[in-house]
Amino acid sequence: MNDQVRVWYPFIGPNNPCPPIRVKTYVVPPNQYIQFQPLDLPQFTPQEALRYGTLWPALFSPYEPTRGSEGGESTS
């Protein structure tokens, strides 16, 4: 599982009209943990870098569509 994805479990009240989505997620990209980028970080190959949008794996944040997987995980 993508370690940039955070999971939380919203409160589910007894009177919700729709089946509850028990698990919600959000992304915390790596930029949140880098105050000032250090020198000499490992690099992608130029081909990879063009595709990913960054030269540095430490800054890469993957994102997969969440449609259809909503509520996929169950707490109980």
Partner: protein, 189 residues
């Protein structure tokens, strides 16, 4: 639900008859980075944010309404006894034409408040960073307002409000740290 205390969060004393300052203070009343925008922004974001930071948004959003009351009090005191001539000199003719001496949600240029000033992106980091930016912009606005008046009593209240923005910004940055924390990691000891 709210409980109301019938007093201001911090005393508002105005010692100088200065309707011009009322116009400038409106920036913090119905402006883009004003107290109304702040209160509405925070209280609205509560619904879709992880529950660990809902309480913070409730508390700060509520306090912003207390600040809104203080600004309203300042504007009211500065205009309630102004003559029409004084209102004209202060650049408040348009305001007077629309509202007499009623306080209304507009910025210092007379542009009415709009919810286009605020956002709710649904992403906790995006929302909290907007909140941090809003607090810093409000702090800066208070600084410029303090610069614009020589009424030390008015400055005193504005300095209190400026300090609150500094505290709120820190609290929102603490909320970002809570949001960043990886609760998913199961630590086995």
């Amino acid at each position: 639900m709210w409980l109301y205390e019938k007093k201001l969060q911090y005393p508002v004393k105005v010692s100088k008859c200065d309707p011009r300052m009322a116009k400038l203070l409106l920036e913090q009343y119905g402006g883009a980075d004003g107290e109304l925008a702040a209160a509405l922004r925070y209280l609205n974001q509560r619904y879709s944010i992880p529950d660990k930071v809902i309480g913070l948004l409730t508390d700060i959003g509520t306090e912003e309404f207390a600040h809104l009351e203080m600004i309203a009090t300042m504007v009211y005191k500065l205009t309630k006894d102004a003559t029409v001539e004084m209102m004209k000199e202060a650049g408040l003719s348009e305001m007077y034409a629309q509202h007499d001496r009623a306080v209304f949600y507009s910025n210092s240029s007379g542009v009415p408040f709009t919810t286009a000033y605020i956002q709710a992106k649904g992403d906790p980091l995006a929302d909290l960073y907007e909140d941090i930016a809003a607090e810093e912009k409000a702090r800066a606005t208070y600084q410029w307002l303090i610069d614009l008046t020589d009424d030390v009593d008015l400055q005193d209240s504005l300095k209190f409000l400026r300090e609150r923005e500094i505290i709120h910004s820190l609290r929102f940055r603490e909320a970002v740290e809570i949001i960043k924390a990886d609760w998913n990691t199961k630590r086995v000891f």
